[in-house]
Symmetry: C2
Subunit: 190 residues, 2 copies
Amino acid sequence: MPDLTDLECTVLGVVWKRAPCTAYAIMREFAGSHSTYYRGSAGAIYPVVSRLAERGVLEATKEFHGRRPRQTYRLTAKGTDALRSWLTPPLPDCAVTITLDPLRTRSFFLALLSPDQRVRFTLDAEARLREQLAINIEERDRYLAAGDPYSALATEGAIDSLHARIGWMVRARRRLGELAAEAQENGEPS
Amino acid sequence: MPDLTDLECTVLGVVWKRAPCTAYAIMREFAGSHSTYYRGSAGAIYPVVSRLAERGVLEATKEFHGRRPRQTYRLTAKGTDALRSWLTPPLPDCAVTITLDPLRTRSFFLALLSPDQRVRFTLDAEARLREQLAINIEERDRYLAAGDPYSALATEGAIDSLHARIGWMVRARRRLGELAAEAQENGEPS
DNA sequence: CCGCTCATGTAACTGGTTACATGATTTA
DNA sequence: TAAATCATGTAACCAGTTACATGAGCGG
């Protein structure tokens, strides 16, 4: 029952919240969420779901919708245990590592741009992050309205991260200005 | 010259900073950095570097260290252009999307834990994030001492994100306590 | 001279993606 | 009745990982 991946456990979690639900519904949940890493492609979800059923953490039921059959899934007791132990501290190292930020990856090399291109970089980034922020605030409010304070809390994590990245970009703009001024004083090339 | 991946451009960036340098040195740079997503495995770096050389963005030189030959690389003019255009706004959507946080992924399902397990979750997460914070502050200071304020600025992004996640976990602990109290008032099961 | 680091790779695997195929049911 | 959505899959691909193999140079 152990060594389930994060994707597998997330699927488990979605089934736990939505049960009974189809693989298709899980797929839509992933595809529709902004705070999820996975894109929710059929090629990922269907194999995962049937693997989980094989493992005995999900239980499949054949339902009929009209005369068309469909598989719905729910957690088994074993599945609930697996999901719970995924959440139970101590958390694995990989769960608390630093997050990947493509903006940060790029920032390492900002010295290559001209001073005003650097400013434009931070302005563009800030504006785009604010768009994301609006989307995520909306998502959080939807969760609150739907009576799911836990998902709202999770989404709040995304909101906080976005605030932090926006603040970082604002500070970066100021710092980059200072660095450019220093460089000019010393007569360095751009 | 376009459609280079983030990994490829990051490699380009490292060569730009470190040139002339070997593929091995690039690999070590990736493996040693905490703020990088990629693990810097030989199986990734070597193919990327030779692909970049083939594309004409990197130029290979055969050097001799003793009587042992080794390839060192530097950017071509085309490579500098490619790196610059990777950084130049408007940034692609993928660069400003929300970051993946395994802690957040888990938080969606915290309702499954008992109230005190939830508290333990946030305490554990907070402690581990603070460790990461210390590591990244050290890394930033090393960059500052090494006279690389741009990398320091980038690392500051990681520090800010960690602060945000820590604050989020602290607030989560309070909110979860309130939620548990409400639930008990309403006589709901844990 | 032993073991560590430098240095260069390759092969098998993994976990996801895109894109496609198929067909029933619902809605405009 | 046409188009969209529900529903279930599969096949080809892709980027990066682990693990291995090999050998030169260097420090103790």
